[in-house]
C-alpha cells in the first residue's frame, strides 16, 4: 500500500484551521466560538501527527496527547465560565460581553 504523502495531510490541516478561524471571526455565540477553537486545535494536532510520521519519531504523537489534555481542561474551564456568565447576564453573545465590568 502506497503511503499518502505528508503534504496532503498538511493541506487538510490548513483547510480545517482556516475553517476554524472563519468560525471564530464570524460566529457571535460564545459556545460556537469554542467549537471553532476546537476545530483549530484539531487541525494543529493533525499536522503534528503527520510530521510525527514523516520523521519516524513518536514525540509528535506524544505532544498531541498533551494538547488533547490541555483542550479538555480548557473546555471544562471555558464552559464553566460561560455558565457562570449566563447566570449573571442571561446571554452568551460575545458582543454583549465585550465589557469586563460585572
Amino acid at each position: 500500500m502506497a503511503e499518502v504523502p505528508t503534504a496532503y495531510y498538511i493541506a487538510l490541516s490548513g483547510i480545517l484551521f482556516a475553517l476554524g478561524m472563519i468560525g471564530v471571526l464570524t460566529r457571535r455565540t460564545a459556545v460556537m466560538v469554542f467549537l471553532s477553537v476546537e476545530l483549530m486545535l484539531n487541525a494543529a494536532n493533525l499536522s503534528l501527527v503527520a510530521f510525527a510520521r514523516a520523521w519516524g519519531d513518536l514525540v509528535g504523537q506524544t505532544a498531541v496527547f498533551i494538547v488533547m489534555t490541555l483542550a479538555a481542561a480548557e473546555v471544562a474551564i471555558g464552559l464553566a465560565i460561560i455558565v457562570a456568565i449566563f447566570r449573571k447576564r442571561e446571554t452568551t453573545n460575545v458582543d454583549d460581553l465585550a465589557s469586563l465590568k460585572g
Partner: protein, 184 residues
C-alpha cells in the same frame, strides 16, 4: 489514498457544518463527525493509540460536555447573530483564503526528510506502549504539569459554577448557638 480522500472530504464537510449551522446542537454534531473522521485519519497515520484517545476524550467526553452546556443554557434554538461589524464576514473569508493559501504553499513545498516507508516502520504503529514510554521519559515534566493543570481545572470549574453562598440569616444565629450550647 482512497481512504484518506473519503475521510478528508467528510472531515471538511463536518467542519463546514460546524461553523455554518444556525442551531448549536447541529454544529456540535458536525464537530463530532469531524472529530471521528480525524480519528480515522490518525489511524491511517499509524497512530492507533491517538485514534482511540481521540474517540474517547474528544468525540466522547468533550462533546458530551459541550452538548450538556448547550442544552443547559437552552442555546439550541437558532439565534439571531446580529453582527456589529458588517464587513466581518467577507473579511473572515479573505483571511481564511489567505491562511489556506499560505498552508497550500507550505504543503506543496514540503519534502519528507526521509522515505515514508522507513519512518513509518520506526513508529511501532503508534501503540500505547511506545507512546507511553516517550510520555514518561522525554515528556515527564509536561506530563506532571498537565496533571496539576487538570487538578486546577477540576477545582476551578467546580468553584466557578457553584451557587453564591447563602447569606447568614441573623434570626437563625441565636437558635443555632443555643442548639450548639445544648449539644455541648
Amino acid at each position: 489514498m482512497l481512504t484518506f480522500l473519503v475521510l478528508a472530504v467528510l472531515t471538511i464537510a463536518g467542519g463546514i457544518l460546524t461553523i455554518s449551522a444556525r442551531n448549536a446542537v447541529h454544529a456540535s454534531l458536525g464537530l463530532v463527525g469531524t472529530l471521528l473522521m480525524v480519528a480515522g485519519i490518525y489511524a491511517t497515520l499509524n497512530a492507533s493509540f491517538l485514534a482511540a484517545t481521540q474517540v474517547i476524550v474528544y468525540a466522547g467526553a468533550v462533546m458530551v460536555l459541550f452538548l450538556f452546556v448547550i442544552m443547559l443554557l437552552d442555546a439550541n434554538r437558532p439565534v439571531e447573530e446580529a453582527n456589529p461589524l458588517p464587513f466581518i464576514a467577507p473579511l473572515a473569508g479573505v483571511g481564511g483564503a489567505i491562511l489556506a493559501g499560505a498552508f497550500a504553499i507550505l504543503a506543496f513545498t514540503y519534502k519528507d526528510p526521509r522515505p515514508l516507508a522507513e519512518s513509518t516502520a520506526a513508529l511501532a504503529n503508534g501503540a500505547p506502549g511506545p507512546v507511553g514510554e516517550t510520555l514518561l521519559t522525554r515528556f515527564l515534566l509536561p506530563f506532571e504539569a498537565v496533571s496539576i493543570l487538570l487538578l486546577v481545572a477540576v477545582v476551578g470549574s467546580v468553584a466557578l459554577v457553584q451557587r453564591p453562598a447563602v447569606q447568614a440569616d441573623p434570626e437563625q444565629t441565636p437558635e443555632l448557638t443555643a442548639l450548639e450550647g445544648e449539644v455541648a
